[in-house]
């Protein structure tokens, strides 16, 4: 194994299997494909790897119009046309009109980099296949200048996907895959602690109870995720909510739930007798007198 071993960073808690997957991908020089529910920190992982391994992070955000070619280089023909008309520069030197894309940048960097290809599933179906060769062989050819750009240091490639599209098999075969499952209550507690080190334990415990209770409700259109929980905890702290009220009332519900139907459903459950009962079982120690 090489000297680069990733073991998480202070602001990003990493599970054992994810850490293994990262290190396997680094050691084998294969791209690491990360999938998972929104808000499980897929994008943050790349930042944490970069921080942990002290490498620069290059982010390539993929949109529906992104072409694989753009990641390699763009030949700025318009600039060249302008220059030819105004005679500003020597237009016979094509090299100055070749602008490297994010992948190209990662290749020519004089240090090893972490390249994040974010939300690859947003792009066209063929996009991943178009990058196969470059990610495998780590070089590409620029016909305009007759140059071949070869990676000086094989970048650590992290690819995230929200599973909006199926990725091609040929592409998948070359990747190391990891699915970030939603953190359990204990792990989530640790994650919240990282962001709010001074949080009162009682408040945290109650917030987590309410949060996982909401997530356990059947038929939610959009389950609240980590980032919503963090916002909510922030709101609870700022609002000065007493821990005893958290589970019974779920204040600032709108921070957790973004869809009308979900919001109504949870409100109904809080106010219906059965709902409160179930909630009370969940909350365990909420005394009946606290229900409002």
């Amino acid at each position: 194994m090489t000297g680069n071993i990733y073991s998480g960073t202070a602001d990003y808690l990493v599970s054992e299997d994810l850490r293994n997957a990262v290190n396997i991908s680094i050691a084998l020089g294969r791209p690491l494909l990360i999938k998972g529910e929104p808000g499980t920190g897929k994008t943050m992982l790349a930042k944490s790897i970069a921080d942990g391994l002290k490498m620069p992070l290059i982010i390539w955000n993929i949109k529906s119009t992104t072409k694989a070619q753009e990641g390699l280089y763009v030949y700025d023909t318009v600039q060249r046309l302008y220059d030819s008309q105004f005679g500003d520069r020597d237009v016979s030197d094509i090299k100055q009109y070749i602008k490297l894309g994010r992948l190209g940048e990662a290749f020519v960097s004089d240090r090893q980099t972490v390249l994040l290809i974010d939300e690859i599933d947003k792009a066209d179906l063929e996009f991943p296949n178009d990058l196969l060769w470059e990610l495998d062989i780590m070089n590409f050819y620029i016909p305009e200048t007759g140059e071949t750009v070869t990676a000086r240091h094989r970048p650590v490639v992290v690819i995230t996907s929200n599973a909006e599209k199926e990725l091609p098999d040929a592409f998948l075969r070359r990747c190391i895959f990891h699915y970030i499952s939603f953190p359990d209550e204990e792990m989530m507690g640790n994650i919240v602690r990282v962001h709010f080190p001074d949080l009162e334990s009682k408040l945290l415990a109650e917030a987590l109870k309410a949060f996982y209770w909401i997530r356990s409700l059947p038929g939610l259109l959009k389950k609240p995720s980590t980032s919503e929980l963090l916002d909510w905890v922030q709101a609870l702290v700022v609002g000065g909510i007493h821990p005893d009220r958290v589970v019974a009332e779920i204040p600032f519900l709108g921070v957790l739930l973004k869809k009308n139907q979900d919001f109504d459903q949870v409100l109904r459950r809080i106010h219906s007798p059965g709902g409160v009962q179930r909630q009370t079982v969940w909350a365990g120690n909420v005394r009946s007198g606290l229900r409002t």
Partner: protein, 400 residues
């Protein structure tokens, strides 16, 4: 090595290819498994499995392969040593474990870890029987099975245990699906759009600028064919009584199909158990709100992709007899089967989605069993699950 595991995975329908297998071998060669079975578990999963949908099958295969293993031929190196020693205790009969029952787990762990550490030194590079050998330093007869178990703790057992937990069961793609998954699956019908059918009449600005510049300023127009989805879909759903258990599933499919707005056109019709001379506009299947099936066939050309949803289960008379229709007021002078065949001939791309699990279906064309077999002979039938819908969509993409 471990080749048997490869075939166990294939057996569990995890799509593993030799390419990935070779990557795993390379990784093992570099010691990335860290010499423990849990290391091997994570390594193999990361390298071999490319979708959370297969995590559960991987776990099942892993458990099957490593739980019952007895021979050592397939295994190599350190992992093999761990396996040989760590696995047998999983089969120790309960009587052998009894003496430990009143010990605290922590205590047990601590002592056994101590013992294991000692044992490592004494047997370093020596006997393969770590477990058996491990009993002698203590000379304590009762330690034997537990000692093996702690051996498992650092290697084998936890991985098998993790696998046995089947935490990813929910992600299996042969489970019935939710609206979002339906949508994703239906969206794949987009690939169908054939650009070649239309003339190139959309100006590609980027390419025009590019080409013009390459020509040194001489205008060079570049035209593209429009990238529009040409797929038209007609969805016909059974709303008969036997479909009630699947009502939620069907309504999810309906929601997904109406939400996916990339189809050029989508039409919905309903029927009760089988299709006869009338199709209904709503799930209540009342004649006053119905259209003639023949009119539908006239209106919808054969390029519409036909998706039928139903359990295909009915009394054989409903399918095979004139006048067999269940509802009063529907007078079918042709048997349902004739209507189904008419639909199958008219729509060149058609599938039948059945919420009943596939293993319960009789073979296609089998007429003596029940109506599923007959209908399977007319339409390609798929399970109403993520996997089934994906296969159905693939079927809809190519001409039969």
């Amino acid at each position: 090595m471990f080749t048997g595991f490869f075939y166990t995975l294939r057996d569990e329908k995890v799509p593993v290819t030799p390419t990935e297998w070779m990557t795993l071998m390379e990784a093992l060669d570099r010691g990335l498994a860290g010499g423990s079975l849990s290391g091997f578990y994570y390594l193999a999963r990361a390298v071999l499995v490319k979708s959370e949908a297969y995590y559960d099958r991987f776990d099942l295969a892993f458990r099957r392969y490593f739980d019952g293993i007895e021979t050592s031929e397939n295994l190599a190196g350190q992992v093999a040593r761990w396996l040989q020693n760590a696995l047998p205790p999983l089969k120790v009969d309960p009587a052998g474990r009894l003496p430990f029952s009143d010990w605290s787990l922590e205590e047990l762990k601590r002592q056994l870890e101590e013992r294991l550490a000692e044992q490592k030194e004494e047997h370093h590079g020596g006997s393969r029987w770590i477990g058996t050998g491990g009993t002698s330093p203590f000379g304590h007869s009762g330690y034997h099975p537990a000692g093996l178990r702690i051996g498992g703790q650092s290697g084998n057992r936890s991985a098998v245990k993790v696998a046995a937990e089947r935490r990813y069961r929910d992600f299996r793609n042969d489970d019935t699906l939710n609206t979002r998954q339906f949508e994703v699956a239906l969206r794949k019908l987009r690939q169908l759009s054939r650009n070649e059918e239309k003339p190139p009449d959309v100006l590609n600005v980027d390419k025009t600028i590019d080409a013009t510049c390459r020509k040194g300023g001489m205008l060079e127009l570049v035209w593209d064919r429009p990238r529009k989805n040409t797929v038209k879909v007609v969805l016909m759903m059974d709303s008969g009584g036997s479909m009630n258990p699947y009502a939620k599933l069907c309504s999810q499919l309906f929601q997904a199909a109406s939400k996916v707005n990339h189809f050029k056109d989508i039409k919905f019709y309903y029927f009760h158990n089988c299709i006869y001379d009338r199709l209904f506009n709503d799930p209540f299947c009342l004649v006053k709100n119905s259209v003639r099936t023949l009119d539908v066939l006239r209106e919808l050309d054969s390029t519409y992709r036909l998706i039928l949803v139903g359990d295909a289960s009915m009394a054989p008379s409903e399918l095979l007899m004139v006048g067999g229709a269940l509802d009063w007021g529907v007078e079918n002078d042709e048997p349902g089967e004739a209507w189904l065949r008419r639909l199958a001939v008219h729509f060149t791309h058609s599938v039948w989605l059945n919420p009943i699990p596939e293993y319960m279906w009789p073979p296609a064309g089998e007429r003596s069993y029940d109506t599923i077999g007959i209908i399977r002979g007319i339409f390609p039938m798929f399970e109403l699950t993520v996997e089934g819908l994906e296969r159905a969509v693939n079927k809809l993409k190519v001409n039969r």
